[in-house]
């Protein structure tokens, strides 16, 4: 489900690349310091994106520090810190724990069962501090699970629910003036993630007789559909009063999101063609 909201690092300027990596390392650092080193491996690019978006709205840039770590043992590397990164780390934990929980319940995946035990304490910490987001996530996924059981053929329904989940996760501070605009952006991103995942998984899901919201679509044109959803993301992004790192977000929305899709569908050349 996750891993599509990434930057195309080839197209980032050196300075931007450093910032992107500093965000990634920053969320990793927060995971370690708030939840324990064993939680660092749960890090996703999607939550790095969340940190970048939230931080872009802050009056001041994030503070920078440097450290050595297991992944970068040779020399110190920069990482960013602050509330936005801590929040992204917390949401990361919520998503991981929920995923373990669902996978265990769905197909009794023993590894996932271990996950629910392993991350339980971390998740409880997150639930205490961010109950609204955790509830929205759990309730939304439960709603989608019901749709899967009844084989919901209207793709808009589960897409709307997943969009709503991400919309809630994107709002760290409900009272902030840009909360509504952030929710709107998060919703658009959620819808995109859900459908991108459905598009990428469609063939396998058909073969394995698993639920996929797009099975019943007889006129599916993936590039057209994804572009429509991305257009909504871009529109919502523009409505946010971002102060920095717009270039990184732009890179992700226009280029990075297509990386996996283009790899899987080389014949469906999108606007990714290089001259």
């Amino acid at each position: 489900m996750f891993g599509y909201i990434v930057a195309n690092q080839e197209d980032l300027a050196d300075e931007e690349k450093k910032i992107y990596q500093a965000f990634y390392c920053g969320v990793c650092h927060s995971l370690g310091s708030d939840f324990g080193a064993y939680c660092r491996s749960t890090l996703s690019f999607d939550m790095t994106f969340l940190a970048i978006v939230l931080q872009s709205l802050e009056p001041d840039p994030a503070l920078q520090d440097a450290e050595r770590c297991a992944v970068h043992p040779a020399k110190k590397h920069s990482y960013l810190k602050g509330d936005c990164l801590d929040y992204a780390a917390a949401m990361n934990i919520a998503l991981i724990w929920q995923k373990c929980q669902d996978d265990w319940q769905d197909d009794h995946n023993v590894v996932r069962y271990g996950g629910t035990k392993l991350y339980r304490k971390a998740y409880q910490q997150v639930q205490k501090k961010w109950p609204h987001q955790c509830d929205a996530l759990a309730d939304g996924l439960a709603e989608i699970a019901k749709m899967e059981v009844r084989g919901e053929t209207n793709p808009d329904l589960p897409t709307a629910v997943f969009g709503k989940i991400m919309g809630e996760l994107f709002v760290m501070d409900q009272k902030a003036p840009e909360a509504e605009a952030l929710r709107h952006f998060g919703t658009a991103i959620g819808r995109l993630i859900y459908i991108m995942d459905a598009v990428m998984d469609l063939k396998e899901d058909l073969k394995k007789e698993r639920y996929n919201p797009l099975i019943a679509m007889e006129q599916l044109e993936p590039v057209e559909l994804l572009s429509m959803l991305l257009a909504a993301c871009v529109e919502a992004w523009k409505a946010l009063p971002a102060r920095r790192n717009q270039a990184i977000v732009e890179n992700i929305l226009y280029s990075g999101v297509w990386i996996q899709f283009n790899r899987a569908h080389p014949e469906k050349g999108k606007g990714e063609k290089r001259e």
Partner: protein, 218 residues
């Protein structure tokens, strides 16, 4: 569609929703175009399976209004609803309008931007999905937040009647956001390529930066 939908799916009449869904996916594995590219017969069978599943999920025509699931999103009316094909004839008196057939009522409702109502009427005649049915459904679905289904139905309408200007315009309208996005993405990727070419080779990156690294998209 004449066959009993339960026969099409190969399930007994008392089957649960879950059993119907499983049977549906079993048949999707067999006939879906993604697994049978270019196979027209498979595509036809898939349509039949889709229609059967749809009919089972939504119950008898009498109970359909209650069971069909739609988004409850914010309404964004399709601005050209006034041009919803050949409506002029019903401009006058409402007396006895309950006698009109569901398609006519749906058309009236779309014109009046009563999309939820339109969807209920379309539901009643959903066994006979003409191009016009898909056209009206596309407008109503898109306007009530079901943009994915709206786009799909607009395509169906054009597919069934490619010569109809209203249908083509509707599809274009729905695709326009995505097209603009694709153009910008293309420009973005081209400008990034230019930047990469420019900054390699002999140019000092300090000399290059002011000329190449400006001009962002937003």
């Amino acid at each position: 569609m004449n066959r009993d939908p339960y026969d099409v799916l190969g399930i007994p009449h008392g089957a649960s929703e879950e059993e119907a869904a499983k049977a549906y996916r079993k048949l999707a594995k067999k006939y879906h175009p993604d697994l049978n590219p270019g196979d027209a017969e498979a595509a036809r069978k898939m349509s039949e399976v889709n229609a059967a599943f749809d009919q089972i999920k939504n119950g008898d025509p009498g109970t359909r209004q209650q069971t069909r699931h739609y988004s409850q999103g914010n309404e964004r009316p399709y601005r050209d609803a006034q041009g919803a094909g050949g409506f002029g004839g019903y401009g006058g008196g409402f007396g006895g309008y309950q006698e009109m057939d569901p398609m006519a009522m749906a058309q009236f409702c779309v014109q009046m931007r009563q999309y939820s109502q339109a969807l209920q009427y379309l539901n009643q005649c959903s066994e006979n999905r003409t191009a016009q049915w898909y056209y009206l459904s596309a407008i109503a679905r898109y306007s009530t937040g079901d943009s994915i289904t709206g786009l799909e139905h607009a395509r169906q309408a054009v597919n069934l009647d490619p010569g109809n200007a209203d249908y083509v315009n509707l599809l274009n309208e729905m695709q326009s956001g995505g097209r603009i996005y694709q153009e910008r993405a293309q420009k973005y990727n081209q400008s990034m390529s230019m930047m990469n070419i420019c900054c390699w080779g002999l140019c000092m990156s300090q000399m290059c930066a002011p000329f190449c690294c400006g001009g962002r998209m937003f």
